[in-house]
């Protein structure tokens, strides 16, 4: 389930243009156009790789650069590991270096962080899932990075699944008396049969009417551990259960142990620490 090559090309092309609208003047004045170079992509810290294709695409869009990866997306690596060899025109490698690294470091950062949450919840049935808190323009890649780290994806966008949040319910109830179940059911009836229906609840009391409307997933938002356990018991398999709200690496295990099916973690993508990767040049 790799991202489409066309989508990658479009993103990389825009990034290369952003980073050198009128050429790389440093290399152009300093280095002969026919100078060849070899280099290694080296990990400067431990992590999980994501970004092979983006990295290779950036290089090949800049010229005839051969890139040979020793690790694949989803593989773990250690500080000092050589992740890839590359060789080609110095102008091309230096032209694409920063763009290729900017992508690979961020995506590997997301994969690495995700892997920590996944490891932490090992043995439970809880999936670690992403959110829509992704970097504008990079959602396709960032969701892929979450998968490389062993996580799963939530809906892609507002268009491909229903997720009714507190504000929807509040607005609903204002305008339609109190028949939440009936109102949800009527709304769901207008949806394509392929649409997944998820509703967020803030308290145990909301579960019954929501469940009665025929939802696929119930999100228990900012529940205490105790309430999570009560919710799991109450729902009893009649819908998937997603825990959300302020999930951290410290708290994720105890949440998973409550028996929820899904734990959504905004921090996987809204706050990214790039993994330190670098190019070591091994000479002309």
């Amino acid at each position: 389930m790799k991202p489409d090559p066309c989508a990658i090309e479009a993103l990389v092309r825009a990034a290369l243009l952003e980073d050198a609208p009128w050429g790389d003047i440093t290399s152009e004045v300093l280095l002969p156009a026919d100078l060849l170079m070899s280099a290694q992509l080296v990990a400067r810290e431990d992590g999980v790789l994501c970004g092979e294709d983006v990295f290779s695409t950036a290089m090949s869009m800049a010229g005839p650069v051969a890139v040979n990866f020793f690790k694949r997306d989803s593989d773990s690596f250690s500080a000092g590991d050589v992740l890839a060899d590359l060789s080609g025109p110095a102008h091309s490698i230096l032209r694409a270096e920063r763009v290729a690294l900017n992508f690979a470091q961020r995506l590997s950062g997301i994969a690495t962080e995700t892997a920590k949450y996944v490891a932490e919840t090992k043995g439970t049935k809880a999936r670690i899932v992403d959110t829509r808190k992704t970097t504008p323009g990079l959602r396709l890649l960032e969701r892929y990075a979450v998968r490389c780290g062993g996580g799963h994806n939530h809906r892609f966008s507002l268009s491909d699944a229903v997720l009714a949040k507190d504000n929807h319910l509040a607005a609903l109830q204002t305008s339609t008396a109190n028949d939440l179940t009936g109102r949800l059911r009527a709304a769901f009836a207008r949806l394509p049969h392929t649409t997944h229906k998820e509703v967020e609840v803030d308290s145990l009391e909301q579960i019954a009417p929501v469940l009665a409307a025929g939802v696929d997933t119930i999100m228990l938002d900012n529940f205490t551990l105790e309430d999570l356990r009560a919710g799991v018991a109450q729902i009893a398999g009649r819908a998937l259960i997603e825990a959300s709200g302020g999930i951290s690496l410290e708290r994720v295990r105890e949440i998973a142990d409550t028996g929820v099916d899904l734990i959504s973690v905004g921090a996987l993508t809204h706050s990214v620490r790039s993994i330190d990767l670098g190019l070591d040049f091994s000479g002309a």
Copy 2:
């Protein structure tokens, strides 16, 4: 020096399309099209604001939403502060909410982090500057966020200034014996007269030949504090001095105290922690 409105519109339009290629099906089935809403943009932690225009643009592209900011870009805020009021069609506000927040949280995250480095170096002559380690596609905005935090910008791209790094010098010397000064001078002579010329050095010994070539800035990369001080003394105002390499909030003050002019911090943009902002709905 705000980003161009056209550039902002293009980025926001793409983000809105990414987040709802076929509409927001949740609101469409749950809420009447003519339902109006009011909401407040509230800070859930302390920070420095960046993203007014992006936020407002996202809302106004989704419909006739009125947004009124109480804080401006570059202003500090505290947890609990109401940053803006907004009102308009519920469909529009909910359609744009995530996109508007995704931008504003990231940019405020960068501004906030930058402000910490700037505060830490207060009273020294050192500028905190950004690098090309920005999110692909968002460089224009992220550089603006650095300025909102009190930092300064480095070159925008490979096209608008020369920055010769270790790999350039290594390649150069391979192919041109040892006359680094002469080779740099010859290269510089081919540049437009408006081009700033910066060269990275890894040791004190490299300073003299680089300085003799007529550079504008010398980057002292990964120097010890002692070597930084020696470099400052040796260069003695004949070029600007940039310290770079592994700069952290902990070390930035002692580096600034060596007397360098510029401290470039990749972490300002390569690793971003979003500031927690949220919309509180105050009813229909």
Copy 3:
């Protein structure tokens, strides 16, 4: 659930450019630029309207043309009905006329045809749904036209729901012995929890292993009426049932009467008869 105005604008803009890359030379040489006109959009046959927004957008992109619709999308109309009044510069109205009609006639054609299938199956629980056999580039609009006719949508694309067809199953079984249930289950486990899972079967025998894998919908492809009834009985509410394959207006009622949930009709969009609409000019 109207299509996004931005999406409509992009389609209309491209169509206007296609139809007059260098201007409308006929009007330009024949008519004064300040000549105003009034016109009526008139139905020349019975139908169901779809295309209000596209029609109005085409006009307003060509100039300050006021369009006032008397029927709304989803409304039925009869031959001779005036659907809308318009007035504005003659240059603008004539510039946009063909494009506006090309869209509205096709979309109304789809809505009208859909409405016939919906009427034919009235009183049954079967939904009439569309397929991916849409005109390249116009899927968003054509799916909307199906809804205007009272139909429902199936998945939008290959990306937002699983639909395993005969070829997938054949390929699967080649490579994985005969454990269809196990193989499907393993595949489904990799999907986001929001993904709807549908599998096509060609015979009653395939139903059991597919059902056991935990599907949401089973497509009974090209089944006889008798087999459809048997399938409905066998599945017994454990999955939605979609009938597909060579559905025609003549056969749709008897198929609906078998008790299936969904009937997908490629002809709704793969073969479109435009509804005859025209502009009658009522003078300057």
Copy 4:
């Protein structure tokens, strides 16, 4: 006179993106990425082929798929004929299948319908020509399909030929008394010398003043057979004659027999019945 490969690529790329914005999740989870497949493109009814290049382009944009056509554009085929062989990665073929068929079925539908009109008028001098009633965005391809069916093209757009219709003439006469001939002549004098000048008339009386203005083609709109014959006699070769308005397969021969030069048929493109083509998979 095949459509430009660049234009085809742009249309196919957009259609592929529309049909799988985030990949083909069914194949991705069900089939190994290295699974190869063979298939045949088979006609399920008689027709005239159009769409070779679009079909092949869709496949090759999705991966290294080899396509070998046995029939060429403009060739007739019968139900059961194998039109092409294809082989390549299963992921690629299944990814492009629907898009490739959507194009080829529609274009072949247009070519097939056109060929019927052409056959019906065989032996007369009348050309069957298309109109601007094409699918928005697909005019280039649909005009090509008309040619594949043996028809000819009319003007491409509002920009490349003059066609003054009743509304133009009405507006003209309002504002310029009754000197139609003089007004047309003055307008024509402003045109490039390469511009073809056609005027629509609704009655025999309008022919004389229009002819006197020096037109290249006169369109006799909605004329009776008798009036068509009278018009042909009156014009007597001094301009080309186009019959238009409600042309059907039933009436086209008797219209052609009146001696007109051109018969324009909106139905060739405004109402398209896709020809039934399918992919038969012959195993991995």
Copy 5:
């Protein structure tokens, strides 16, 4: 027959982006954002105006700048004439100044040069027409400038009229013996009836077979005056006659006097001398 506003906007937007991808840093650091300015667009030499809309569009895309033109496109002006008044934010006017002038100066240069050729041939029946030797990307505007200067347009592109040149004829005759007339006729029969057919000839002998094929225009390329006169006599009104090849302002009158219908002048657009226009600022 003004260029389409959408086309103008696209060209101006691209030019503004080219001229300030990251903002106008000079104004931004020097001038307050709320500083207002007035200015006049002044002619520094005589000429014919073309570019009103492009100029105004550039200004209004940069901000709320009011532009009021005192001369219109096609008007003559003298050195010192004030062509327009403008007022608005200093940031906006300075941001758009160069782009607005670059367009208006070039287009006015073309209109002015064209007007000289038109004046020189006054009283003859010869039209001055442009060629396809236009600036890549600006053909729409440059053809408009030719019209503003009193000239006429030739075909827009390779797609909208036939112009068979010497190379076509040479290639034709190689492959089809010597029946030029028959070969041309066969080729023309495949064209839409709206297509203008022009053939270039290099000698008087070629005229007869070309004329016999039924062409609309014959181009006499690089003919002597004597041969032009002979060609005019020989063709005798059976086709339009275009003189081409090395036309200069000095020679154009004697060529027009030979009785040709069209004189095509590549220099109108392939070599442009910008008219000197400038902005005079009249204070804040």
Copy 6:
């Protein structure tokens, strides 16, 4: 420092589309699709070449055309010189001919004109530099052409260097009393350290306060020779000196002899005379 291949491709693609939106109908009806041709690119006057890559790209985008240049960009050539050989499908060569020539003739025109200014100032230290008076959309190529002619580039855009002109200074002084030096200094302090700072002065009196603000270049605009000499003496190497304003080939030498560093010549790009290049076909 050749323009980026991607940028060239985008410009050429747009130009090819502009020149044949629906194909080259002349070649399509006249010449067999498999006809091959050879041709030579021949200079019809003396000049300096610029446009190799653009020419070759245009040809290769139109088909498998082999192009072999005998002269390289920056080389001088004489009338009659064969600049390149090409061979390939006649359809492709004729399709791309005009676009390829339009680019190469204009760029060679700029290179040739620049070379004259460079030759005229030989032996002085003055650089001939371009301005922002370039053709909208073609700045990247035209700046390259200036370099091919031996000239140098000035800033690319409003974004990459400061150039404060008379209007800026006038506006500044209005709003900030008379402390020009202080105001400039404050403004410069907000700039990135990589930004080149140039200020235009109109009189000798302005030099001192501008110099005191720490500028990199001072532009002496429309100075007499005497004042230029006085300015050079006064500045005495503390900033670069640019002479500008009405520079002509006749006056450039005497200006260079005053000792200025840079002479900016708008006419290099605002008024271009295309160099006459042509394709001679040598048969099929």
